[in-house]
Subunit: 255 residues, 2 copies
Amino acid sequence: MTRRALTAIGAAMIPTSPRNSRDDPFRHFADVVLASDISSTSLSRLQACGRRIRVTRKKMANVDGSDRRTIIFVSEGAVKLVGHVGAEREQIVAFAFRGDILLLSAPSHKPYTGYALHSLNKCSLLAFPATDLIMSTIESPDASDAILERFFAALDRARETAILLGRKTAREKLASFLVSMAERIGHIDGDTIYLDLPMSRREIGDSLGLTIETISRQLTALRNLKIIKTTDRSKIVILDMASLRDFAALDPCVS
Amino acid sequence: MTRRALTAIGAAMIPTSPRNSRDDPFRHFADVVLASDISSTSLSRLQACGRRIRVTRKKMANVDGSDRRTIIFVSEGAVKLVGHVGAEREQIVAFAFRGDILLLSAPSHKPYTGYALHSLNKCSLLAFPATDLIMSTIESPDASDAILERFFAALDRARETAILLGRKTAREKLASFLVSMAERIGHIDGDTIYLDLPMSRREIGDSLGLTIETISRQLTALRNLKIIKTTDRSKIVILDMASLRDFAALDPCVS
DNA sequence: CGAGTATTTGATCCTGATCAAGAACAGTGG
DNA sequence: CCACTGTTCTTGATCAGGATCAAATACTCG
């Protein structure tokens, strides 16, 4: 079943009333990130300190006029956070999908920019000043802990990326990427996993420190090994997850 | 009055209780990280939740028996946080010097290990369960903000590392490394900067995703260009910081 | 001073980048 | 629906930066 079809059914079944987390991004945020049923007062406090933002493929998310640390919540779509070396080379520092959060320092400090991924035209985000958000969750230990959890997860992912970029081969990098994407946005159906990647080959390359040619070659290699199948430009079926994990050279403790 | 007498008097005046931040790592932590004069009650609260740890070159910091997120403070020495690919390849994910902090997820989750740097035999650390530390600073907005600052700084550094590992050449990597070390542990004297690196070539390589041979070659190249001078194994004098920054290909916004 | 470890330097190799061309696809308008 | 156009992806040929292998030299510490 394609992603589009799924979305259509979902939209039909769920009413327009914004009480539902599907429709109200703030409620969605509370459900997914804070993982706690919040009162309507704290919901309105969230709404007071957060701002809705739309991002496109071309336009960066100029998150805020101010120069503060910001916590971004991806309520719809998927974004990439990009850093540069000179004007030519670029490195994708993080992907964030629906329900993920993205932590940004004061932009004057570290100038990373966010864009919508290649196959998506628009993404909806929620931007919270970090201090405000943390202050507004201070009464609920569960919510604070959930935020803390996200901070450490972001750091862990960045460190895992460092290992990947510093010490893995092209094959291992792509396999790691596919395993990670399978875990984050894959649809499991029995033994096989279906992936609909919202990013282009260039974006995959820019996140792995490789060129598009190498990405393409490694994909065909995995295809020839019967580990994956590709149909669309974006669709990948993982046929042999065990082998893929072996190729990924993941740390044994990381399941 | 002789020197000995002074010392004797000093020793007599100061009780064994280490009020001074040089001597009491907890006070040192409060001074450097929390950047606020804390009351003696909150100091004792810190002492209650923190544990002292010693790390050597050989032995990893088995931080805690428990499996919690931990905030490590380096009160003496310098440590590295290491990740692995298989048994052979290793990647240094972060260096932390005196006064720095190191954020660790629950070890079962992500199994990075900390070691003292090559030229150091022993390092003294303070380990705080993350939640406890945050709870104990909750009343002081300044202290909470200082912790938050450290979180974002750690993430920024990890992202800068990703750009370096993914998109920079060996020359650029080493130059970036030297600039970063100069800023963190360099001693400025007029136009020149003196560096005493506590890590071996291997450790430099393992943090930059390069081999020791490449590190050595790039160092001699920079030496031939009259940008640096090396004396010891560990001592480096930066003669031309401007050129070094150019070679580092740092983002223009990062001063 | 001597033993063991680190570092430097040289020669060669290999992975992934670069250059180049063709194929597949998406979007547009007729 | 199809031709047209620009973009993205794939594949091939060649190149180069850094890895690997090997040996000599410089430190460090007992």
